[in-house]
Symmetry: C2
Subunit: 356 residues, 2 copies
């Protein structure tokens, strides 16, 4: 029997829906056939939500992730205190602190090779800020911790979306669309599609910045000046990418079904249609890190925290996605680990001539 | 028997899918129970598509819309030539000219009271430009023809979306979001929801300009400076509007279901998620004109023109929507035609004091 993939899961903000999701997701034993889950969190908080939400899932506390076992929900108690304050739906430094402890422990174990993939439950961006943590969110913290430029990819069953610009005022978006930046994102997506999703010849769609692709320059010149030439250049280099496409027609006609990923120019352009189509079943994946990291597509959901109304589907999808990507990466890296000095495809023309 | 609503329909660009939609939509006689359709177009072109696409719909040519009869597809031949050039899928001045003739005749008849509502098939924006026609599209032409500020509302079964800015380069959007402009659009939508959709207390959702509602100013100030104060002001005036909402969360959580209309700040923000959710069954409605005007949500579809692949669903929805709105308006206008000098709700406080 091969070893199960070790899935590290952080409990997130303890006043949010994190523990509810975890307890619901691991209530069914079948998931232990798929992976070895290791939750980084507080046992006290877990017990509180198990009781108040009448959940049946059980866990075993392990002193260290290295002691985790198959067939059970392993819990590394990163808080370890018997008195913790739990206020469902409230932003608090206490909840932020417990979220941070889980994240730090999981990242340390990831670096030490004690977990294979990382799935993070939602944190509260305000609550987690402290002298120990000064990052706008998970993505930026992980980029810093792993020292690499992650790229956020939102994905559901039929669609993967990445953004050229993310958290920017709309007034600054147009100036931020440069050929270099778009090219960098295209290369990141392309590599991720190959390595993380095992697509040998991925097709990427690029959206336009302006309505209707700029309507031949009438509604803006970025398409003609930046995006079109870049798409052509990438194709000449052998990276199949297409566009630019006007966002409304692209999503309205279901054209996204023909592509492996869509690169949107800015936040709402990509995420509003993506989320409209996802119906709460999408996953946030940070590509480009040393570790595979996914998360559900929603936040702490304070409005329903502690009420038993949260759906675990997106967390489960995040776990499944992380496992898939981990396997894909392993396969890709194995194949590409020892390339022949002269690959067969590079020799093909010579051999044809030789044999012909 | 009450008179049927007279639906004027323009054939649009003759190299596009207009005639195919019309022939398919009126192939079934049942629609004649609902309305009296009067097509403005070319009989020659109609015959061409009827034959090549093996359609069964028939029509009667009438010399004037006033001679149109119930129970049949009436055709006003606005071209009247026996030799016309038809090149499916090609933009041509000839196709543009025929589109213009239909539009001009239908608008003249609308003004003369010969039709009750107007449904337009798609035109090609490039092909129709000429010395006689210098407008970017239907909406602008109709605004000019009827001398009023129309507001485009895109709608499907569950959702109505209007835009504060429409065909603008993205770099110019932020500067165009002013309190006056947003307020004007809110008033237009509000009146339209009451008069055209018979909603006595419509609820309008307002989207934010920046991602995540500007994240307390971190991602832009337009929410705090412009949109929030305006929403508050409108509510104080008795117009129930809500927001601002970040577009991705709003569509992702299905919040649009709780509102009668959504006001988006710019083109792709509103139309990309709207069209993603519409699946080709939406209608474009120009509110605020003297005549009720609707159109299908798609363009000339040159890529499938003349191939029999076009779906008539959106055209039919446009016809149904126009009829519904016409009826609603008639009801609203009747009720509001002769208000009492002192309405009962204005007297209520006085009477209470008087009776109490």
């Amino acid at each position: 029997m091969t070893a199960k993939i070790r899935v590290g899961i952080t409990h997130g903000d303890t006043n949010g829906v994190g523990w509810e999701l975890i307890l619901k997701a691991f209530a069914n034993n079948e998931i232990f056939d798929l992976c070895q889950p290791i939750v980084y969190g507080s046992e006290k908080v877990a017990s509180y939500y198990r009781k108040t939400l009448e959940q049946t899932a059980t866990w075993r506390v392990v002193g260290d992730a290295a002691e985790a076992k198959d067939g059970q929900l392993n819990l590394v108690d990163v808080v370890g205190e018997s008195e913790v304050k739990i206020e469902p739906g409230q932003s608090s430094p206490e909840a932020g602190r417990m979220a941070r402890l889980a994240l730090e422990a999981a990242v340390a174990d990831a670096k030490a090779g004690k977990i294979d993939v990382l799935v993070t439950c939602p944190i509260n961006k305000a609550g987690i800020q402290s002298d120990e943590f000064r990052f706008p969110g998970h993505t930026e913290y992980l980029q810093s911790a792993f020292g690499s430029n992650g790229l956020m990819i939102l994905m559901n069953k039929t669609l993967r979306v990445a953004l050229v610009t993310t958290h920017l005022p709309l007034s600054k978006v147009a100036d931020s669309i440069t050929a270099d930046r778009v090219e960098e994102k295209l290369r990141q997506i392309h590599l991720s599609l190959k390595r993380d999703f095992c697509l040998s010849a991925p097709r990427i769609a690029v959206l336009s910045l302006n309505p209707h692709c700029g309507d031949s320059g009438l509604l803006g010149n970025e398409e003609n000046d930046i995006i079109r030439p870049l798409v052509q250049k990438m194709n000449e280099e052998g990276m199949p990418c297409f566009g630019p496409y006007g966002a409304d027609g692209f999503f309205g006609a279901g054209m996204y079904r023909h592509f492996d990923a869509v690169l949107a120019m800015y936040h709402d352009q990509g995420l509003a249609p993506f989320k409209a189509l996802s119906m709460g079943e999408s996953v946030n994946y940070t590509s480009g890190l040393d570790i595979v990291r996914t998360s559900p597509d929603h936040g702490t959901a304070y409005d329903i925290a502690g009420k038993g109304k949260a759906s675990e589907v997106s967390l489960l999808q995040a776990v499944y996605a992380a496992i898939d990507i981990y396997r894909n990466r392993a396969r890709y890296d194995e194949v590409h680990a020892n390339p022949l000095p002269f690959g067969s495809h590079e020799r093909r023309d010579n051999r044809r001539t030789f044999n012909g």
